[in-house]
Symmetry: C2
Subunit: 377 residues, 2 copies
């Protein structure tokens, strides 16, 4: 199965080395990781190579050192409840904000999914998820005075002029080549990239965008036009795709129940889904497993632990060894993961409750939010 990676579709076996070459990004090297580690304990997703690729991260760090500084930007287009995979870019973003104490802009493009998906018939269909998604995002724990969360349609007056300036620099030809637009693409979708690029110009500093690598096409266009507009080419760090429960092909999708753990799933649902759906790299029988061991490369439970849920390097090494040697069974591995996830989700739900009170600060009343509502960019 060939791989396909666009902002709207990810499928097939993903060859990340090939993506780096095709997209023209850079691998995050050991040297770069060591440099990052000098500012604070490396986040597990960096340490384990889940964030594997970047553009100009080295220049971001240089700007930080020389005092120029930088800012962070990421986002989420609401169309349903958030699952674990959706949270990872926000978690690495929090690590960067905590470590470097910089401003963060979180775009909620509340028009994108409506424009992109034929089966979403009204803006109201996605609007009903906006607040819930924002609460999930706030629960990650950003600094409310250094973070601005904005919905494109609410913030349109402040963004539209810049979107127009960006749009003038992008021909249909370019958009077609980068996003695969066709004659049947609607004219809102064709314009939308301008809206997603706007926040990279919110400050006259370098912007660092943590996201999965499928979003990179937007940043490629931004980098083509930024300097001619008097701004910096944006920097980015790219993650791999968080594997769906059903196996390490494509990315976790909201459209298949059996693929995702939602942030709202109860402990019982988590247990059921992982026991029932998490693709196992274990032997077909206990006997076979004890003899040959499990395959951690394809085992989703192991992969999830490795990517995010078991931060302790010694523990994950021990799990790998025991699972591959056949000492640890699939059920034991899954139970370990279930406990980890349920503890994580319990904390998340507490954070989400607290978020209710913070939402106004992030959107309107916090220090950065107030500044941003007074500005038309």
């Amino acid at each position: 199965m060939g791989m396909k990676v666009t902002p709207w579709e990810v499928s097939g076996h993903i060859n990340y080395e090939k993506l780096i070459k095709e997209f023209g990004t850079s691998r995050i090297t050991k040297g770069l990781l060591e440099k990052l580690a000098s500012y604070g304990k490396l986040n597990v997703m960096l340490r384990r190579g889940f964030f594997f690729s970047h553009r100009d991260l080295d220049l971001v760090l240089k700007d930080y050192e020389t005092g120029k500084g930088f800012f962070l930007y990421t986002g989420r287009a609401p169309s349903g409840p958030m699952h674990l995979g959706h949270l990872l870019p926000f978690m690495i973003t929090k690590w960067f904000q905590d470590t470097f104490k910089v401003n963060l802009y979180i775009q909620i493009p509340d028009e994108e999914k409506f424009l992109a998906k034929r089966d979403i018939r009204s803006l109201e269909e996605t609007d009903r998820w906006v607040k819930d998604n924002i609460l999930d995002i706030i629960a990650v724990g950003f600094d409310p005075n250094r973070t601005f969360i904005f919905q494109n349609r609410e913030y349109a007056k402040n963004m539209y002029s810049m979107a127009v300036k960006i749009a003038k620099k992008v021909t249909f030809s370019t958009a077609k080549a980068v996003f695969g637009f066709t004659n049947e693409t609607n004219i809102g979708m064709i314009f939308y990239p301008a809206m997603q690029i706007v926040p990279t110009f919110f400050e006259k500093k370098r912007c660092l965008i943590p996201s999965a690598i499928d979003q990179d096409p937007y940043w490629r266009i931004q980098r083509d036009i930024a300097e001619s507009m008097g701004y910096y080419k944006t920097a980015a760090i790219h993650s791999k795709f968080f594997p769906p429960l059903s196996g390490i092909i494509g990315k976790m999708s909201s459209s298949k129940q059996e693929d995702a753990i939602y942030l709202s799933d109860s402990p019982e649902e988590v247990r059921y889904k992982i026991m029932r759906y998490a693709f196992s790299g274990g032997g077909a029988t206990i006997k076979e497993h004890r003899e040959k061991g499990g395959n951690t490369e394809v085992d989703v439970a192991y992969q999830w632990l490795y990517i995010i849920f078991e931060e302790n390097d010694n523990k994950i090494a021990k799990i790998k060894e025991e699972y591959e040697s056949g000492k640890m069974l699939t059920g034991e591995l899954k139970n370990y993961l279930i406990e980890k996830i349920n503890r994580f989700l319990e904390e998340h739900r507490k954070g989400k409750k607290r978020a209710e009170k913070l939402i106004d600060k992030f959107k309107h009343d916090g220090k950065l939010a107030r500044e941003m509502w007074e500005r038309v960019i």
Copy 2:
């Protein structure tokens, strides 16, 4: 020379009969004019057939009679000072507002020219004309409590959601066919039609748009999608193009000094331009003129008098007769026009001075303006 009529280019000898067929609009019939005349003294531009074509004007009048009502919408994209030709759609619009006492929305698309013209390098280049143009428009004398003047970039938050809904219904294919977009068209220009269509949905009544016929492609798209969105297909009345001084080919253009009389031209400038540039249908010599008479069909001074500056039907008939018979000379005809225009411009300038105090009412504080700022459509 073949004719070309798009919202961005008008050139060649315009065959208006052919345009009606090509665009699929309807001629404004005598019957329709008589009907209009039953509501108030017909505006000269209707009487003389300068507004010659329409869509659903009959339905507008029906809606008015049954008490459903209708509303007016027109606009102006600023990129320089306004000339006489720019004012005509506003003058007919005023006639409709005065006659039917209806709401009027005036769009100032302060992004359009920047997006459409390669040689306009910044939004600031067009922004410096916005206020001056708005004052010229207000000087026409609209009802400040029934008229809302809005700039797209200022009003973007209130328009963007509807623009997105419209945009989803228009494919690049359609926009290409209707506007002649190419692969080299920028993505802002491709989206822009959605912004121009938005105001046709400001009320759940039929919208009537007075404009030159080159704007009709926008209304064609609107009419394709309006009913599926729960709104009325917009109605329109279309004018011919106000002939440039240099001759009755194409339309009056701001880019050629010798083609246009600006609203800011002094009496001396008006005299100079008309004497020097107004294409004459008179004989090559006085002798020839006295013998053969002048050709009113191609004489720009006569055409201007006919279209707008001599409202008195008896007087214009007499001028025609005297000019065609050779009794009236070109110089006399031009002098007559010069006096008319200068009197008109003097009044206009007075109105423009008064407009300074009204601008806030039209944009923010008038009854309709206040309502519109409270709504997100």
